[in-house]
Symmetry: D2
Subunit: 428 residues, 4 copies
Amino acid sequence: MFTIPTLGNCVIPTPIKTGLFVDDTRSLLFDRYIPGVSGLKETEDPVTMEIAGPRENIYFDPSKVRAAIVTCGGLSPGINDVIRSMVMELYYRYGVLNISGIRYGLQGLIPSYGHPILDLTPDIVKDIHRTGGSILSSSRGDQDVDKIVQSLYRMNINILFCIGGDGTMRAAEKIAGETRKRDVSISVIGIPKTIDNDLSTLDQTFGFDTAISEAVKVIQCAHVESKGAPNGIGLIKIMGRSSGHIAVSATLANNDVNFVLIPEVPFSLQGDKGFLKALEVRLRRSAHAVILVAEGAGQNFNPSREALGTDPSGNVRLFDIGIFLKNEIEVYFKARNIELNLKYIDPSYIIRSVPAAAGDSIYCMLLGQYAVHAGMSGKTAMVVGRYDNQYVHLPLSAVTSRRNVDREGPLWRAALAATGQPPSMLSE
Amino acid sequence: MFTIPTLGNCVIPTPIKTGLFVDDTRSLLFDRYIPGVSGLKETEDPVTMEIAGPRENIYFDPSKVRAAIVTCGGLSPGINDVIRSMVMELYYRYGVLNISGIRYGLQGLIPSYGHPILDLTPDIVKDIHRTGGSILSSSRGDQDVDKIVQSLYRMNINILFCIGGDGTMRAAEKIAGETRKRDVSISVIGIPKTIDNDLSTLDQTFGFDTAISEAVKVIQCAHVESKGAPNGIGLIKIMGRSSGHIAVSATLANNDVNFVLIPEVPFSLQGDKGFLKALEVRLRRSAHAVILVAEGAGQNFNPSREALGTDPSGNVRLFDIGIFLKNEIEVYFKARNIELNLKYIDPSYIIRSVPAAAGDSIYCMLLGQYAVHAGMSGKTAMVVGRYDNQYVHLPLSAVTSRRNVDREGPLWRAALAATGQPPSMLSE
Amino acid sequence: MFTIPTLGNCVIPTPIKTGLFVDDTRSLLFDRYIPGVSGLKETEDPVTMEIAGPRENIYFDPSKVRAAIVTCGGLSPGINDVIRSMVMELYYRYGVLNISGIRYGLQGLIPSYGHPILDLTPDIVKDIHRTGGSILSSSRGDQDVDKIVQSLYRMNINILFCIGGDGTMRAAEKIAGETRKRDVSISVIGIPKTIDNDLSTLDQTFGFDTAISEAVKVIQCAHVESKGAPNGIGLIKIMGRSSGHIAVSATLANNDVNFVLIPEVPFSLQGDKGFLKALEVRLRRSAHAVILVAEGAGQNFNPSREALGTDPSGNVRLFDIGIFLKNEIEVYFKARNIELNLKYIDPSYIIRSVPAAAGDSIYCMLLGQYAVHAGMSGKTAMVVGRYDNQYVHLPLSAVTSRRNVDREGPLWRAALAATGQPPSMLSE
Amino acid sequence: MFTIPTLGNCVIPTPIKTGLFVDDTRSLLFDRYIPGVSGLKETEDPVTMEIAGPRENIYFDPSKVRAAIVTCGGLSPGINDVIRSMVMELYYRYGVLNISGIRYGLQGLIPSYGHPILDLTPDIVKDIHRTGGSILSSSRGDQDVDKIVQSLYRMNINILFCIGGDGTMRAAEKIAGETRKRDVSISVIGIPKTIDNDLSTLDQTFGFDTAISEAVKVIQCAHVESKGAPNGIGLIKIMGRSSGHIAVSATLANNDVNFVLIPEVPFSLQGDKGFLKALEVRLRRSAHAVILVAEGAGQNFNPSREALGTDPSGNVRLFDIGIFLKNEIEVYFKARNIELNLKYIDPSYIIRSVPAAAGDSIYCMLLGQYAVHAGMSGKTAMVVGRYDNQYVHLPLSAVTSRRNVDREGPLWRAALAATGQPPSMLSE
């Protein structure tokens, strides 16, 4: 079983009045596939996960506890829904009245930035889910853990809810470790956010469905543009640093994409089996093409072969594959004296900043509620997430590994079928 | 393990070229909760489900097989996506060229109706997912099983894909039984469709997410209307014959609903604890209210207490709770001489007839592909569905039971919190 | 020239700093068609209209004036845009700080209702255009003019902006007349609102474009429903009390409607040339049909032939042509033993309560600004409106007449072509 | 009066059965403002325009005439609506059965390109208005007039409908001139298309309303992004080569823009009154900003001061003001050591490629019908357009002049008010 740290014994009866409580011993199988008829018994000691939900007894006294919420990293649809849900649950279900909104990510916990705290109340948050982004704003990058813990201590924060990606989860782990070292009882609960949807131990990250819906609209426009001129090409660069989930899902939802390029599937540009030749074949046959490239695809083409460094979030800076492809395509067809009308679209900012669609709204609401239950019961150094359709607790460290698009799985095979692109565009 | 009938031995190698195949012995646990640490071993013989996916050997020879697709019952977003996916998978992945589209549901298999067959090809179906409804059209109601089997036999159909609800799954079971009795090798595969999302053994039915998105737009309008006049009320009747999943999910996605009434939660009209009094209290405080009522709620109010009979699909006809509530509310407030401006909205037809949203499109595509894999491998009398995030095979009989909104579960509790309505509106 | 009454001499310099001012003598031709080459000179004394816009000198001292805004009648997209625009223009361009929002229409000016005044400031109105409806709420019906004028006087209101329909314009005229009689200097400025778009002396009413966009979505759903079942009929009742502008425009924007029925074009039900026979012919040929009926069409079918009275706005109550047609159609086909699947949709409330689309937003903003210019310059008993693409002043009385769909004009002819319905469905 | 050339006498009775016909002598005043009370009489010989509409007698025999449609230049919402309308009107109202769709703009009339002709029928065009772009595709650039006229002659084309921009109208004029010279009776009718909406003698170009609606969505995203990070800036480059109509209208429709930069209003970057200083002031006060820049703004900043040449359409290539501003802003704030998070969005391709919104659909339908009436009555070298809400005929030469945003007019003044930007950002 994944072990979730706790701050101590839960002896305070929860003020939640109705509903079935969840017991810490009730857990969920991590791997529930049975390879043969007698298979189950062989797994003597299966890996399990703690079930999320309200506990009958909690650790913090709602009348005294002070919670804080911080949002870090890039935008994703649904952040405001999660914030809203946590505030509503803390306030109305537990009676927690002191909720601090930390502005501009972890910067908001470093006094020298001077970002004021936003007191979060039901009245403040009641309509924020109708708008994209984060009312708390966000920032990228690590901050000094010592100073963060001092701020939490000085502000009397007992529970810190961190909405963010990989870097934020690592920071949350450091904060949780530091508070334990100092024997300060602060619960640190993570709500994982990555629009790339590449966390291995979770079903899907919030905002992903909404992002796909928006991506589909852009692809339709690229399709129209590609058909609007002789040898028209719609080239779209989309999110996906190390995995192609957004690119593949958008391809499947729409069926207008002719080439989808993702980090998991290397490809060549030149050569008889390469991408440019395949594109030429496509144009000669159909006179137009839509290309969807994940930002992390084709990083091997970086001509300078030198490191681009890291961004403030600690992510490796990516070589701009979109602009690179645009140029390579134009050069290739110019050399062959073929008229080309390439329209390049980079829609990331208009995909990730919309309000959450209905399904994501409900998902975010439940994530927020389960995060509050976990925090109030004194859990720490953990995240809430949905795993095989069930909300569970997982250690912070368990959600940082990467989940790739499986090249043998049904999604990639379906994407190959939907695009009609060659199964491999890798020249020897 | 749920046993899935098969037509015989699979000895023909599948033409599917890439990808991992699934083995019939690989299965999924039905209940993967472990009540205590040593719990798993106690479950000596757990219930399991067959995993969906392509098999290494198949039963039907793709060059000779003839498939048919029929769509029955009411509309739901995504039907065309499922049809499209099945045709594409049959045609391009298996090489099945003969695919018959049966028009107007089971009527299309009864010669006397005279509905012509529509030959389905990639060219016919390639853009149909952009439109709501079913290109095959649909109809309600049972038809004579003998005549259906005779038609299938006469048309040389080997696989029949049935997209439909409860009644359709029952008909499919009868057809499968009759073909076995006659020793005719016809595979009957169901793809369950119910916009009500009330099937107990499946995660979610296709079209549900899209329906919620549309319902949310209508609720926003009702909210605006309710605030636009003194004591304005927006009263919306929504789908949900025996369960309130749509009503509850739409309530949670939107947060504008003040009263949500569902079949699972009985309520009184009159009395101090009744709904009308609660509504009056709300209006005196806030001067407007939005009420969302599932069509199956409050059936006990049927004043004539007499059976309304059944519709052609065999469903019990419902008493019109929307119009009934409209009248009761107007009478109540008129009697108290309180100005009232009630706007009644019945949006069902404009919710269920839209094209599938992106998430539902991908879901429908995968459902269609798994249905084809099942049919080609000679499975019969079964449905494909997603269970705990995994695609599985289930016997037709296993998906007809009803799943209700759990009155102690997180969704209903969240709905109570979102509306602020009294936990019980049941007078003694 | 249409004469616009004024309260007196404009001697106060306007605080508007930039821009060209408009002179009262600059006016616009009412009829600018020239029947022949030498035609113009024959029109010795043409009817003209005063041009709207800021005047170099104004009547009211911005530092002392107190403005009020009231919204009456049914909702229409863009009301909040007009309110927002007037508040912004009064506040920032003229420096008027006292702006009272009258709640619930004219009720808000009758003390006994007890509706509190809402002080309108830029901060209050800055985001209201993102929501449908009216933040001031509305009500229908006349109120006592004496009491209204007493309220205005007691509240020291100098300019009253009335957003509303016919009834409101009549009320505005009475208020303006009464204030003149009492020698109270109150400017009464109307901004005509009718989603029916049937005012003869204005290009188009605000909200109309938005309404058509929403209607088109509903028609698409009805079309899908009609094709989803044997002899499917989508029957939609839409706004349009005495004119069919919405019905005809939605028909033209969409091209899915097969029958459009409007008040201006009488039709028979029975008989060889009647509507039901035409519908039967259509179903026999195409097996589905979409019917769009304006609420004011076919009022002659009222079986009781008795007056239905008037609603609180003074409008004659309409016989429900939608439900009537639904029943007549069902009876007709039942008698002929023809299966029929009729889906009835009444979408008015979800059409008129959405936020204004971009074009309407800009239109409403300009209407609001011109209304403020008119009010500040002491005009009264007038409306602002767009006439032949130019913003003008018109007497209140000039905008109450009705504009019908011209049965010989391009719109109706295009609607006949788009639907394919018989040019006349009137039996002898 | 603007004189419209005709091919000859109209003696063939039109097959149009109903409706009022329009007479060539009935015309519309070009300037209908009256500067003073007695003003009209002074204008002895006013400029007038021919009214568009069906004529009682036509020039071409419908049974023999052959029409062609060509679409040139960049995409704009509604092109397919115009094509659809012309085909429907030619086919059903006039009985013209031979309608040729020229592929890829004027290239389609040059045999060496080898683009095949698309025969246009009601069946082909009936659903094309649901998709953006042009089913005929398009191309940029002039082609040899001789070859074009030879092709028209060889194909027996009698009427050529040209949908396109400035360059296309100039080409149309040359074609019309060449045909007259050769004494070939070909009517050349233009339907002006420019998403920039900058034609001086027309109310508004088709697609403009739709474009604004899309632009508003992008601006909302930029606004969310700008608030999502410390000193967040959303910088959007939008269409508008020589006029800022799109930028200004989108600003007004949305109210989220803080700086709008257009070609008509020069600005400085540096200096106390310059844009960068104003931006710094804004960030210090509000910590975020949305900047909307028309592509033609700030061309004076072109650092190389050299000509960029012209594109294939003959338009001067623009210096990329978007990227330039992005860099200048980043340099400025880096030099001042101020954290900045700039998100750059270039949405042109996703704005211009959507299907027409409802209002534009109706407008395009009427434009198409009037173009057909003009062509059938033998007019040539002219365009149809809406002027002051009335459809008229104008000589091709009359619509090539440019209409700018009036810096003293209500739109720009409203834009200044909506953004709060300084009235002038021009340093001495």
